[in-house]
Symmetry: C2
Subunit: 140 residues, 2 copies
C-alpha cells in the first residue's frame, strides 16, 4: 500500500484531498512503528507547516474508519496508530525501538475450541500480540 492508494481511498469515499491530509497520510503510511497523534503532528508538519493538531486527529479518525490504520495497544499506552495489516495479521513489537512487524499463520483453532468447551463461551475473535527485540536492537 502506498500513500497514493490511501489518498485514492479517501477520495473514493467522498473525502477531499488536501495538503493537510497528504502530509498526515504520507507520514503514517511510511512509518514502521506506531505513532501517536502528536508524533504524527510533529513529523507531518515538516511536510506541511500550517498543519493543525486537530486535523491530525480528524484524519486519523477517517483512516481508521477506512481500515487503513489500526490502533496499537501497548503497556505504555493505547493511543498510537500504524498502517493496518492486510487480512488476518498480528503485530510483533520491539520493546526497545518500537519497530513493528506483522505476522500471520497463527492457528488458535485447537485452543479456542478447547476453551469454548471448558468455559461455555462462543469465541468469535482474538487479539494476539508479540513483544521482543528486533534484530537491530538485539545487536546493540
Amino acid at each position: 500500500m502506498s500513500a497514493e492508494l490511501w489518498l485514492a481511498q479517501l477520495h473514493e469515499n467522498g473525502y477531499r484531498l488536501t495538503d493537510a491530509r497528504r502530509a498526515v497520510v504520507e507520514t503514517v503510511e511510511k512509518s514502521n512503528r506506531a505513532l501517536t497523534p502528536v508524533e504524527v503532528y510533529d513529523m507531518a508538519r515538516k511536510k506541511y507547516r500550517a498543519l493543525g493538531l486537530v486535523t491530525v486527529y480528524r484524519t486519523l479518525e477517517k483512516l481508521e474508519e477506512l481500515h487503513l490504520i489500526q490502533r496499537v495497544h501497548q503497556p505504555m499506552g493505547c493511543q498510537a496508530f500504524i498502517s493496518a495489516g492486510e487480512g488476518h495479521q498480528h503485530l510483533l513489537l520491539c520493546q526497545n525501538c518500537g519497530q513493528v512487524a506483522f505476522f500471520e499463520g497463527d492457528d488458535l483453532d485447537v485452543l479456542t475450541k478447547s476453551i469454548a468447551k471448558k468455559t461455555g463461551y462462543q469465541i468469535s475473535e482474538h487479539w494476539l500480540q508479540l513483544f521482543g527485540l528486533c534484530a537491530k536492537c538485539r545487536a546493540n
Copy 2:
C-alpha cells in the same frame, strides 16, 4: 483470593487499612467483569458513602502495583481493571455483558519460534485475549 487476603497484602506492604480501601477492595475483588475507576467509585460508595474518586484511583494504583489487579484492554477502552489471574493466564471476554473468564494452557512456542526465525526478533512476551459470548448471553 478473597478481599481479606487483598487487605492483608496491602497491610503486609505497609499500607494502612481504611474504610475507603476496604470498600474499593471488596468491590473490585468480587467483580467478574472489568470495572473503570468511575464504576468502582459508584459501586464502592454504596459500602462507604464518604469515598472520594481520587481515593479509588490511588487504591487501584496500589492494587495494580501489588499485582492483585490488572488492566484490561478492550476495543472500547483500556481503563478498566479486574482481579489478576494467578500464574500465566489470559482473558476471555463476553462482548455482550463484559463477563471475564480466565484460561491457561495456550502454547505459542511453536508459533513464536517460527516468527522469531522469520523476522529476526527475539520474542519474550505475548498478549493473547479472546472475545465472544458467555453462556448466559449466548442463550438470550
